[in-house]
């Protein structure tokens, strides 16, 4: 792995950390949603700095270049994050549906209601 590639990968993961921590600090991102992103940054950092692990993983998955391994793991993490969001959206959809139904029934039960 070239030194430039290493520097770029470390720089990218540090940037991810800073952005996530700033977002959590400013309450723009909830802590419970930040852990998967922080984990992504940490894994990239470990793989880049601990080159032997990256080589071992590359050999294990049958990839030719260590950079390919990095990309594959990055994509896998993105899939995990997207799936995590899909699960959360499903739960939120159910909650919004149940709340809307409850509010609609309560509104309908009000005396002197007006249907617009």
């Amino acid at each position: 792995m070239l030194v430039q590639q290493k520097i770029f990968a470390v720089f990218a993961s540090i940037l991810i950390f800073i952005v996530i921590i700033t977002l959590v600090k400013n309450r723009k991102l909830k802590e419970e949603y930040s852990w998967l992103w922080l984990l992504t940054g940490a894994v990239i950092m470990i793989l880049v700095l601990w080159y032997d692990i990256l080589l071992m993983l590359t050999h294990l998955i049958g990839a030719v270049l260590p950079t390919t391994t990095l990309f594959i793991f990055a994509i896998l993490f993105l899939i995990c994050i997207a799936l995590d969001f899909a699960i959360k959206i499903s739960r939120l959809t159910d909650q919004v549906k149940n709340l809307t139904q409850k509010v609609s029934i309560m509104e309908a039960d009000k005396p002197n209601k007006r249907v617009v």
């Binding site: 549906k97 809307t100 139904q101 609609s104 029934i105 509104e107 249907v115 617009v116």
Partner: protein, 233 residues
């Protein structure tokens, strides 16, 4: 209070809803609950002026959710029997007493009004009738029950069925063959009686086009598959 109610989920039905309510009043004195599913027109106001109790969703949530809102209201108000029918005038109201009678007799928990039983002359499009045949066959294979009209929205339900439907497993888009299989697995007794239905007055249909129907079939079969791999409720 009456122990029976009629639930009508309605979306943009201001032209039809008052005649539907007037039609029901000829055959039934039971409470009429219109669930206005976030219509862009005056469906809710027209229904209220026609004498119905109106529950209005602030935005459109889909046919299944509108039905479920009706079930939740009926469960909360301790109704014993619920009849559901469409707000577009397709379902002829003269069958309301027969549908209620069937469930009130205690011989079944849910009765479906079927277009294809008796001497009905209902005609549906090629793709739709193919879909219906496919659903019939699937229900027959999975449950052993012979249901002729699995897509009928003209149904009467006992309290234990609509209370069961207030849970999160009830589909939000279109309850169909998947729901019949779910009911069978939950141990409810299903029966069909012949009813007559008219073609939609404005020729509007819920599903049209090869792609939409194919996607719909895929969703229903996926839902059936999920129902089958879930633990019995």
């Amino acid at each position: 209070m009456n122990n029976k109610c009629i639930i009508i989920p309605a979306y943009n039905e201001e032209k039809n809803i008052s005649s539907v309510i007037a039609g029901i009043r000829k055959y039934s004195e039971d409470d009429i609950i219109v669930v206005d599913d976030g219509s862009d027109d005056f469906t809710g106001a027209v229904a209220q002026n026609a004498g119905a109790f109106v529950i209005r969703h602030p935005f459109n949530l889909g046919y299944g959710v509108a039905l479920q809102t009706g079930y939740k209201y009926a469960a909360e108000k301790h109704y014993d029997f619920v009849l559901q029918m469409d707000g577009d005038g397709q379902h002829k109201p003269e069958f309301i007493p027969a549908l209620f009678r069937e469930v009130e007799s205690g011989d079944c928990d849910i009765v479906i009004g079927s277009r294809f039983l008796g001497e009905s002359r209902y005609k549906s499009g090629l793709l739709k009738s193919l879909g219906i045949k496919l659903f019939r066959l699937t229900i027959r294979l999975v449950t052993g029950e012979k249901i002729t009209d699995p897509t009928s929205g003209y149904q009467c339900l006992h309290r234990k069925v609509f209370e069961y439907f207030t849970g999160d497993y009830f589909p939000s888009d279109y309850p169909d063959a998947n729901v019949i299989i779910m009911l069978h697995r939950a141990g409810f007794r299903i029966r069909e009686i012949p009813v007559e239905m008219l073609p939609n007055p404005e020729a509007r249909v819920m599903h049209h086009g090869v792609f939409t129907i194919s996607f719909y079939l895929f969703k229903v079969f996926l839902s059936i598959f999920i129902t089958l791999i879930r633990k019995k409720q």
